[in-house]
Amino acid sequence: MAVLLRGLRAGRTLRGLGSVLAAPSATNPTCSSLRRGFHCAALRLRDESKTHKPSSSSSSSSSSSSTTYHEHYQAHSADQDAAGASRDEPAAEEAARPNTSYQDQSGEQGEEYETEEQLQARILSAALEFVPMHGWSMEAVAAGAETLGLSSASTGMFYNGAGDLVLHFIAQCNAQLTEILAEQHNQVQLGQAEPKKTADFLRDAVETRLRMYTPYIETWPQAMSIVLLPHNIPDSLKHLSTLVDDMWYYAGDRSTDMNWYTKRAALTGIYNTTELVMVQDSSPDFLDTWSFLDNRIQDVVNMAGTAKQVQSTGEAMVQGLVGAAVTLKNLSGMNQKR
């Protein structure tokens, strides 16, 4: 398990966060420590490679077609302006369409180009508000596409179906958490906040992260089952490992020995079990879940303390035994030379 995490971590720093796009790309953390600096370089490489559109996207064709996308974008934006004026929209959709419709964006010339991945990310983000109604399914994605002014047929772009939606949401939550933790870190650095103890910090981080699921908690079991499908497991494991790694990093972990693995394994276990408890928790504001979380973190802290105690007790016992043996030897007179 730890070896797997290590391998995924290595793959991540080398390749960057490949296929699933985390929405806010401006979250490049300030590179202070050396290891974080390496991570920053990987992130910058990822951003650069995003504009070059590597073939890590689902179809190799999209890499070649997206080059023409940029050329066509300027030509077509003029066409779409004219087309948008004469478009016949049903009345219901008109009312539901927010200002971020696709037509509006294309009308603004001189704005940044939008890649296909960005458009897909926008569709998936828009689809999230329909999840309570339709579940984690293609119907939710179709409804999301319609709010952006796109036809429901554009859901054909998502070859992984509902898996795309769930993985996008998880990536989005992870990015939000990283932002929050970085912000807290900055506050501590500036001296505006007190640094928390490790156990409290982890507890708050896990709680913040799990609270992001509260709007979708009814349908979260469906999402968990989708994420456990064999073809989705590599991606979900990747997200989980980066999440746990981020939490420990901001908690101040700089270990370079076996502790690195044991700490992450422990936190992964805590996170997963708390998530499961949360899904079937019916107490107000998930109080039972948070008390469960408290107990688990306390267990881990106790275990660490107990391990140290066992070690020192063992040493003391050995010393005591050696002392008793020497005393017996003295008493029996074996030491005396006659």
């Binding site: 064709s61 997206s66 050329e71 696709y102 296909e116 119907e139 429901s152 047929a153």
Partner: protein
């Protein structure tokens, strides 16, 4: 700035690759001239009289449409029977695969161009109706004890349901084929949500941004100007709409290719003569398959027309290719 320059360079490289590929393909193609209609047009434009291919023949462009019309007028009555005989019933699987990949959502509007006897449109309506039934069943199961709030909500959404009925429009240039299709639909008693329109794929009689899905199954190789048909497809699709094309293509496996060639040129015209009494039409059919660009070439044509996320799936080892693109 640097990014856009890089993209421009990549586009130039891609175009030059395609030109190299087209030239190489032209050299190794089955018949020397007219590998792609566009290159053929450039070649004969200088001569003043534009010509294109009709099977292995070369005919003036104006004449091709007329001759294709005649071919399909002749075969219309026996079209479905011949399809089953020639493909040994496999064409049904190909069309089912098209629907499966399409996975239409309820409320989608389909335009089936060169739809002729309406195979795709009928399958589309059935697929959407099954999906809607499944959704209703799921809703009924989950809402066994609805609250008063839910009941009143259901009453208000019922009106919206009416406007979310999916519709299919079958468009064909040939009245005979449409007649046969209409008779078939009437025989199956399917009238709601289906309409039959006469129209030319290069000049569709529809407004812009009308349809969610545009399909053309085994029809685009008969079109004189394929790029114009693709432009029209782009025009009538809504933003986010999907273009799907099912067409005979190049077989990748060499052993299968030999068998396929033998079968096409020896068996199919004979079947045509025996079952439909028309050798020449089916000779045209197999020849037009050979003249059509292969998977990659056609994918480039679709991208040039302005579609994104273009992908193709090979069915039956490349005998048939399903191309899909999005208007974004």
């Amino acid at each position: 700035m640097a990014a856009s320059v890089k993209l421009l360079v990549r586009r130039v490289i891609r175009l030059s690759h395609r030109n190299i590929f087209a030239a190489a393909a032209g050299v190794s193609g089955r018949s020397g001239c007219c590998w792609a209609p566009s290159s053929c047009r450039c070649f004969s434009d200088a001569a003043g009289d534009r010509s294109t291919h009709f099977g292995f023949e070369t005919v003036p462009e104006a004449e091709k449409a007329k001759r294709v019309y005649q071919v399909f007028e002749n075969v219309a009555q026996k079209y479905d029977v011949m399809n089953d005989a020639m493909s040994l019933g496999v064409h049904r699987l190909w069309k089912d695969a098209l629907l499966h990949v399409m996975h239409p959502q309820p409320g989608a509007r389909l335009l089936d161009v060169a739809g002729g006897t309406g195979d795709i449109a009928l399958r589309f309506l059935e697929y959407v109706r099954t999906q809607q039934d499944r959704q209703k069943r799921r809703a009924a199961l989950s809402g066994q004890t609805p609250s008063w709030q839910d009941v009143s909500n259901n009453y208000s959404t019922e009106d919206e349901q009416e406007s979310r009925e999916s519709r299919a429009v079958v468009c064909d240039i040939n009245k005979e084929m449409l007649k046969v299709g209409k008779e078939k639909a009437d025989g199956l008693d399917i009238r709601a949500g289906l309409s039959w329109v006469v129209g030319d794929a290069e000049e569709l009689p529809f407004d812009d941004d009308q349809f969610d899905i545009y399909t053309i199954a085994f029809g685009i190789r008969n079109v004189t100007h394929i790029d114009q048909a693709l432009q029209e497809a782009l025009r009538v699709l809504k933003p986010g709409g999907r273009f799907m094309c099912l067409e005979f293509s190049k077989v990748t496996n060499p052993v299968l290719a030999r068998l396929y060639e033998a079968y096409s040129f020896q068996m199919i015209p004979v079947l045509g003569e025996v079952i439909a009494g028309d050798w020449k039409s089916y000779q045209y059919l197999v020849e037009s398959i050979r003249k059509f660009p292969d998977q990659e070439e056609f994918k480039c044509m679709i991208e040039d027309a302005g579609f994104y996320c273009v992908q193709y799936y090979n069915l039956t080892g490349g005998v048939v290719a399903l191309h899909s693109g999005f208007k974004l």
